[in-house]
């Protein structure tokens, strides 16, 4: 087993005491390329926010291995496109982890930015105001910023939304390049064909993890069916989720069980690792 880049221990993330990611256990190996799939409201974006640390866990922990730098491309960017900035200014933000608040941008840094723009097919766009970019061009520019960030763990939240086929192809090529450079990449995606074609491993979420492992195994019809049938609503009268089971499992032991509180709203807790030697997806109890 490769070393873990990212470890979830009983991670629960959510809003207003309602869980959006419920009791997630497992680890993401360094250098792995994982697709995160699931229905709307299944907790994919929430998980990304939890990993970056923008959202604090309600329970459990989410640990990025020490020394690993994280780059995050959110689904709903808070980018202010009316701000008077050029493409080069936007992409240069990616130098922050390297230069911080006061470090001067060197000639080498400017070269890095230029190369990143070239890699995403935006050469010659340096001086363009960002409010003149098309949706696809902006997405390319944001990928260039991720390139400049030179991170070990790269999180992309629905990067292929509203992007044309050619751009998707180019972005996939970049993702594969990162994978080849032994960076850890997690991508939230909806297109299962695309996931099957390009992503070795997949995490299937339905608030709880439904399956996690090799893509072909994870995206089997029965798993997809189970992922579809989750209760998307929040219930204000849902019972509190108490840690009734203080059990410790051997690491890597695949385990999933369901328990019901007060006889209604049953929910399942899953524990899965993305180790390739698992024979199957999790079993629902």
């Amino acid at each position: 087993m490769t070393e873990a880049c990212l470890t979830f221990k009983d991670l629960t993330l959510g809003y207003n005491s309602h869980p959006a990611v419920h009791h997630l256990n497992g680890s993401v190996g360094a250098g792995s390329l994982t697709a995160v799939v699931g229905a709307n409201g299944s907790g994919k974006s929430t998980l990304m926010k939890g990993i970056v640390g923008v959202l604090k866990p309600m329970a459990g922990t989410c640990t990025v291995a020490p020394g690993k730098r994280v780059a995050y491309l959110p689904q709903q960017s808070e980018l202010d496109r009316s701000f008077p900035a050029r493409v080069v200014d936007l992409v240069s933000l990616g130098l922050w982890p390297k230069r911080g608040l006061l470090g001067r941008y060197t000639r080498e840094d400017r070269e890095t930015v230029r190369e990143a723009l070239m890699a995403v097919g935006l050469e010659g766009f340096e001086g363009r105001p960002i409010d003149t970019l098309s949706g696809g061009q902006l997405q390319r520019a944001l990928f260039a910023r991720v390139l400049v960030q030179d991170a070990d763990l790269i999180l992309l939240d629905e990067p292929f939304n509203a992007v044309d086929a050619k751009t998707i192809g180019d972005l996939i090529a970049l993702i594969k390049r990162w994978h080849g450079e032994n960076r850890t990449v997690m991508v939230v995606a909806h297109d299962l064909e695309l996931v099957r074609a390009h992503f070795p491993s997949t995490l299937l979420l339905a608030r709880r993890p439904v399956a996690w492992g090799e893509t072909i195994q994870t995206l089997r019809p029965e798993n997809l069916l189970r992922a579809r049938h989750f209760d998307e609503a929040w219930h204000d009268d849902a019972p509190w989720c108490e840690p009734v089971h203080g059990h410790a499992h051997a690491p890597g032991h695949e385990h999933a069980h369901a328990h019901a509180h007060d006889g209604h709203h049953p929910h399942e807790h899953g524990e899965i690792h993305d180790r390739p030697d698992h024979e199957s997806g999790p079993r629902a109890a």
Partner: protein, 288 residues
């Protein structure tokens, strides 16, 4: 020509002080105004100007018309309102416009109440509309310190401030500067308004902050030139306002702000990104 433009500043000490004070003020508050505008907080300056009133009034109540206690009082009140409104918007569901409005209204009511405890409406007018023609050494030093501090702080936090405006979520994902830089910036807003209230009064100091910035937006699509231009407009407004005030015996504060307002109106029409250029050019386009 000399009599019209130069002589008033050469012959009269109070005009020199007024010029120095208002130019120094523009140096600090115009860049702050540009960022306020770009962060869509243009009205925040106005709210903060009201918010510093109870502090200034408390200083006035205790020590009379003295710049140091009034300034310190204004600073305290401004910082409390800025921190309170900022914290409510950062850590609760309420947005900054609502929390700012709530806090400044409370503060303003308190201020009017305090002023009414002593003195007449003439005193209130003085606090509100300032006396750029009666700047003493203390006031000049204070304004110089404030604009120095402002420029230094902006230079240090420049990158974080731009990142926080451009893509706040990105900044939060790579550093912890997001929230601190917002409060540092609100601090600068308060500082410059407090610096301005002696010269122009709490109400009109917002004008010197916002009008040149708003005008500069019509001329350039980059932050650095926008700031330089805003200061240029601010400086011209100060000079023109003081001259108009001198020759026509008009109050200096409103004269300065109306000069800035004229520049703003002209920029809407004639700026490179103004009405005439963008609307008239529309019927022609390039092939690519």
């Amino acid at each position: 020509m000399y009599d019209l433009l130069i002589a008033p500043f050469v012959e009269f000490g109070f005009m020199q002080r007024a010029l120095a004070g208002s130019l120094l003020l523009a140096l600090g508050s115009c860049p702050v105004g540009v960022f306020l505008m770009l962060r869509r907080m243009s009205l925040t300056g106005d709210a903060m100007a009201h918010a510093i009133l109870p502090g200034a009034a408390a200083g006035f109540l205790l020590y009379g018309l003295q710049i140091v206690p009034m300034t310190i009082g204004g600073l305290i009140a401004g910082v409390i309102v800025a921190l309170g409104a900022g914290a409510v918007s950062r850590f609760t569901v309420q947005r900054e416009d609502a929390s700012m409005a709530a806090f400044y209204l409370i503060s303003l009511a308190l201020g009017v109440l305090i002023v009414s405890l002593r003195g007449s409406s003439v005193d209130l007018m003085h606090v509100l509309f300032g006396t750029v023609l009666a700047l003493n050494d203390n006031a000049l030093t204070l304004i110089a310190l404030i604009s120095g501090t402002t420029l230094l702080t902006l230079a240090i936090f420049w990158r974080a401030l731009v990142a926080e405006c451009l893509d706040p979520l990105f900044l939060r994902s790579v550093s912890r500067f997001g929230t601190p830089v917002h409060f540092v910036f609100l601090g600068l807003v308060v500082l410059n308004l407090v610096g301005g209230f002696q010269a122009l009064g709490t109400l009109l100091s917002v004008g010197l902050m916002m009008l040149p910035a708003a005008a500069a937006r019509f001329w350039t699509a980059r932050v650095e030139p926008m700031i330089a231009l805003a200061f240029g407009f601010g400086a011209v407004s100060c000079i023109a306002g003081l001259l108009i005030s001198y020759h026509a015996s008009l109050p200096s504060g409103p004269a300065i702000i109306l000069s800035a307002g004229t520049i703003y109106l002209a920029s809407i029409l004639f700026g490179t990104r103004g009405v005439f250029n963008t609307k008239l050019r529309r019927h022609r386009h390039r092939t690519a």
